[in-house]
């Protein structure tokens, strides 16, 4: 069991990430609007949306069942769990017994499982197709994600995210090429997982009436939107915490909070802006051909692994 301090830190960072999630998705919306030459809503619009939605009634089709009702809570809880275990304020994870890269991959899978199942459970045909696409993306992304993380884990000799983070910050130079390529591959899979064009599936505003979200409304939709926003933050922080832990102190202290308070939002902002720019300069691809694009990411991961094997 983690100590009291660590538990406090864990809860704190989960709350912080949750609190800034709508801000970051607001930034994404703003960037998209600007690149479309629209004025668009302000960056705080997602807060207003969520608060408004929370006050609205839940309406669902008669066919929607138990899974449909619990999914928003499962999604947000699994993301909060990950937010607790990530290295955020320090280079170590506050809850080491969860911060394993395989555990992480499967907690993401837990959220995905319920999210997709809720699409089928609503009984809507659009949500059903959305569910199928959501899971297909999972199949295409998972190998890249695991392999790129495994390469760094192999370099650092541990699958614990905290240990990886700490040793990467300590010495990038153990296997620089391997780590850089793994970083590229992992960033690629994070980009897809964030539900961005041209892979635009999860929160696809334009496509298929937002996939499994189709039938959600009111407070359920608010919780689910918050959960999906948090998922993006967690993914971005996953990338930052594991591959780019610079400027963050080794252990917990007042100073580490101060530094993190400055650096963390900056890093997140950079990631979201970069992702937004890439997203909006892309054309949408045909879904059935997505696998051809994801092979590129997997190729990077394989290359990283080869570099590791040959010791470059």
């Amino acid at each position: 069991m983690p100590s009291f301090d660590m538990l406090f830190l864990a809860i704190l960072q989960a709350l912080v990430l949750l609190a800034i999630a709508p801000l970051m998705t607001g930034v994404s919306r703003m960037i998209r609007a600007r690149m479309h030459s629209r004025r668009g809503p302000g960056v705080l619009q997602d807060y207003r949306d969520i608060i408004k939605l929370l006050k609205r009634q839940d309406v669902a089709p008669a066919s929607a069942g138990f899974v449909f009702q619990v999914t928003p809570y499962v999604v947000i809880s699994s993301m909060l769990l990950l937010a607790m275990a990530l290295p955020v304020f320090t280079r170590h994870s506050p809850v080491g017994a969860i911060a394993d890269l395989i555990t992480f991959a499967y907690v993401f899978a837990l959220a995905r499982f319920f999210f997709a199942l809720s699409g089928l459970d609503s009984g809507s045909s659009f949500a059903g197709i959305g569910a199928s696409r959501e899971l297909t993306m999972g199949v295409l992304v998972e190998p890249t994600m695991i392999l790129s993380l495994v390469v760094v884990a192999l370099v650092e000799g541990s699958t614990n995210l905290g240990s990886i983070s700490a040793s990467i910050a300590g010495g990038y130079l153990q296997a620089p090429m391997a780590i850089l390529l793994a970083l590229a591959a992992f960033a690629f899979s994070v980009f897809i997982e964030m539900g961005k064009l041209p892979f635009d599936m999860a929160e696809a505003e334009q496509e298929l009436q937002e996939g499994p979200l189709t039938e959600y409304s009111g407070s359920s939709l608010a919780v689910l939107k918050l959960g999906l926003g948090l998922k993006k933050i967690v993914l971005a922080q996953f990338l930052i915490g594991v591959f780019l832990p610079f400027g963050i102190l080794e252990t917990l202290s007042g100073l580490s909070f101060l530094m993190a308070a400055v650096i963390l939002p900056l890093k997140l902002l950079v990631i979201f802006v970069a992702a937004g720019l890439i997203e909006n300069s892309m054309a949408r691809g045909r879904f059935l051909l997505t696998s051809r694009v994801t092979w590129i990411g997997f190729g990077f991961a394989v290359l990283a692994f080869m570099f590791y094997l040959t010791g470059l």
Binding site: A64, F113, L117
Partner: protein, 673 residues
């Protein structure tokens, strides 16, 4: 009364046999036969668990030897930790399935339910006996008994599909037995005795050991349903009654895995590292292809059967990593790999048993296994739906359930392969295995979202599904029991993992690495990785409080939740045909993995078997006239010709017959004189 573990085991087998016998005797009163064979199964299972637990929890191996009726084979029993684990898994599932059968088999009343009781109990008894015999001769006898009894369960429905599936099963099972026999005879040729103990003492090395291993690997692999010897499994398992499918998929395939471990590690000592690589490679391929083919199925039980191929693959990956660890003298890797394999073996028995029982309940109420004709069952069969959902989550390896823990250990074993040793092949194989496992995991999630979603969610797509109601109490109780076990085996990982490590260690005899401390488990080295499922479960239960508070706090003037009306369909009225279908759901996979699906057509031996069978029949029909014309007809002609010549003797004149008698008498008298 003898209460040693072996004594309990004897009681357990005796109970099964008594149940089988009583079932036959009661063939006139089927309700009673169902009850007696079910209760015998429950009691036998309990006795089996009582036999296995003391050994698993650290007891010493028990031996028993008797001369037996055959001079060439001693009747030797050996209850070691590995056998105890298998007996435990078998007994556990038998207990639950027997409970389930009390209600389920009523469906078969009037169609030979008593015979089902007989074959089930014989099947189980032979499996239990098979686990503990320590002599090749008796091993083969029990192996055949198990194959035969299960064959009769497969063809129980007597329809065309069942009979042809049974035929394929029969063929492949016996092809496997021949290979196993050959392996044992090679060992017998060296040791001069059929006792496994003498095989162990051989310490065989070199090419002969490899030949024996390969024979046993493919022989037992056929039973385990690994790719490419899997094609019988998705046809045979679904054909059997559902509680028998649960036992076949949950337990019988594990006997194939057990055999591979028995021969590869226990008898031969796994001293060659490419054996482990082979097991790992076949395991990885089985896992990916198994789940990919499962995805494409629309028959619920066939989907589950294909997923058994997948899970056998995952178990073999763990075992393969363990064997590599043994061959390279990396004790930690050996223990963690085998631990992962054993843990997943137990877990798969539990969740696949649950899922097959769930499919059985659906079949019991709706009379269909076609998922396109189901739907909407969650509101009609809520308990079944809940249990099935737990099983589906566990098989998709979602934390904190049991499937996740064993897959996590498998990942860790493969990771250790990647980071240790100087052999590049081993270092490469580990991460490649991890990627395969990752693809398998993602595909399994898709597969079981589909299985649950199409069966239980949305609107009913047929009248039968619309009118379904909850399954009878014994069936629900059996499923609930397994669902609880899934949670317990997941959350209780810090208690279960050391037991599995103990079993693994009994095959290795090295220094046991510690795999659990407090509420965490780790693969021998806490620096490498750490996992605490109790903590995960606790947090996953506690965290939802936050969003719930948020929703409650910002209530405003919100009205209560309302469910009603159709789902939105762009302003059109929603129709059945619009909702997700089995084929439509997995269509992207079919496009993206088209080459792998084509592979199935190529790999399918049933076509080749069909072709060769057809060829044999054709040849026989062609040969028959030739044989007739050349041999049979000639003989017939000859006989008729002789008959014609002899005919004049029989005129039908009474006086001439008298003459014959007199002449004969005279001739005989002359000879006598």
């Amino acid at each position: 009364m003898n209460t040693t573990p072996l004594g309990f085991l004897l009681i357990s087998v005796a109970l099964y046999l008594a149940g089988a016998l009583a079932s036959v005797l009661m063939s006139r009163r089927e309700q009673l036969a169902i009850l007696i064979s079910g209760v015998a199964g429950i009691l036998g299972g309990a006795a089996g668990i009582a036999a296995a637990l003391p050994i698993l929890l650290g007891g010493a191996t028990q031996l028993f030897a008797a001369a037996g009726p055959f001079p060439f084979a001693h009747f030797v029993l050996r209850l070691d930790p590995l056998a105890a684990l298998m007996v435990f898994v078998i007994s556990l599932l038998v207990l639950v399935c027997s409970l389930y059968s009390l209600a389920y088999v009523r469906e078969y009343a009037g169609r030979g339910a008593w015979a089902m009781g007989f074959f089930m109990n014989v099947f189980v008894a032979s499996m239990v006996a098979l686990m503990v015999v320590d002599n090749a001769f008796y091993f083969l006898i029990f192996f055949e008994m198990m194959s035969l009894a299960s064959y009769f369960l497969v063809i129980f429905d007597q329809d065309k599909e069942a009979v042809s599936a049974g035929f394929l099963y029969f063929l492949i099972a016996h092809a496997g037995s021949v290979l196993i026999m050959a392996a044992f005879f090679l060992l017998y040729g060296r040791s001069g005795s059929l006792d496994f103990e003498s095989f162990r003492a051989l310490h065989l090395t070199g090419p002969l050991a490899s030949v024996v291993f390969l024979l046993a690997f493919f022989g037992f692999g056929a039973k385990a349903g690994m790719v490419p010897l899997h094609s019988w499994l998705p046809r045979a398992h679904p054909a059997a009654p559902s509680h028998a499918s649960a036992l076949m998929s949950g337990v019988m395939v594990k006997i194939g895995v057990f055999g591979i471990i028995k021969v590869g590690i226990d008898l031969l000592g796994a001293n060659t590292s490419w054996w482990g690589m082979l097991v790992l490679a076949i395991g990885g391929i089985s896992a990916v292809l198994g789940v990919l083919y499962a995805l494409a199925e629309k028959d619920l039980k066939r989907l589950l059967a294909y997923s058994t191929v997948e899970n056998v693959g995952i178990i073999l990956m763990g075992v393969g990593a363990g064997m590599i660890g043994l061959a390279t003298h990396n004790t930690a890797l050996a223990v963690v790999g085998l631990l992962a394999g054993f843990y997943h073996l137990l877990n798969h028995a539990v969740f696949k048993g649950l899922l097959f029982l769930g499919a059985g309940s659906i079949l019991y109420r709706t009379h269909t296994k076609d998922m396109d004709k189901l739907g909407g069952l969650a509101t009609r069969m809520p308990w079944t739906a809940g249990a099935f959902l737990v099983g589906a989550m566990a098989i998709s390896a979602l934390p904190p359930l049991n499937g996740f823990v064993s897959e996590w250990f498998t990942y860790q074993a493969l990771f250790s392969m990647g980071s240790s040793g100087s052999d590049v092949a081993v270092r490469m194989a580990g991460p490649v295995g991890m990627v395969m496992l990752a693809i398998t995991g993602a595909l399994a999630a898709m597969c079981f979202v589909k299985a649950y979603g199409l069966s239980f969610s949305g609107l009913p797509r047929s009248e039968h599904a619309d009118h379904a109601k909850e399954a009878p109490l014994p069936m629900v109780a059996a499923m609930a029991l397994l669902a609880l076990l899934i949670v317990a085996l997941g959350v209780g990982a810090p208690l279960v993992a050391p037991v599995m490590a103990g079993v693994a260690n009994s095959l290795i005899n090295g220094v046991v690495p510690v795999v659990a401390q407090g509420v965490s488990v780790f693969p021998g080295n806490p620096q490498q990785a750490l996992l605490s499922t109790p903590l995960l479960a606790l947090l996953l239960l506690a965290i939802p409080v936050l969003p719930l508070l948020l929703v409650a706090g910002l209530k405003g003037a919100r009205l209560a939740r309302r469910h009603g009306g159709d789902a939105w369909a762009c302003g059109y009225a929603q129709e059945q045909i619009m909702t997700a279908s089995s084929h439509g759901f997995t269509q992207p996979m079919g496009v993206m993995f088209a080459p792998l699906y084509r592979l199935r057509e190529i790999l399918d031996p049933s076509r080749a078997a069909q072709r060769s069978l057809q060829w044999t029949i054709d040849a026989a029909t062609r040969l028959e006239p030739v044989w007739d014309a050349r041999v049979v007809n000639r003989i017939v002609d000859l006989v008729q010709w002789i008959g014609g010549k002899v005919q004049w003797l029989q005129h039908g004149d009474f006086r001439i017959y008298c003459l014959y008698v007199v002449v004969t008498l005279v001739v005989l008298l002359l000879i006598a004189v």
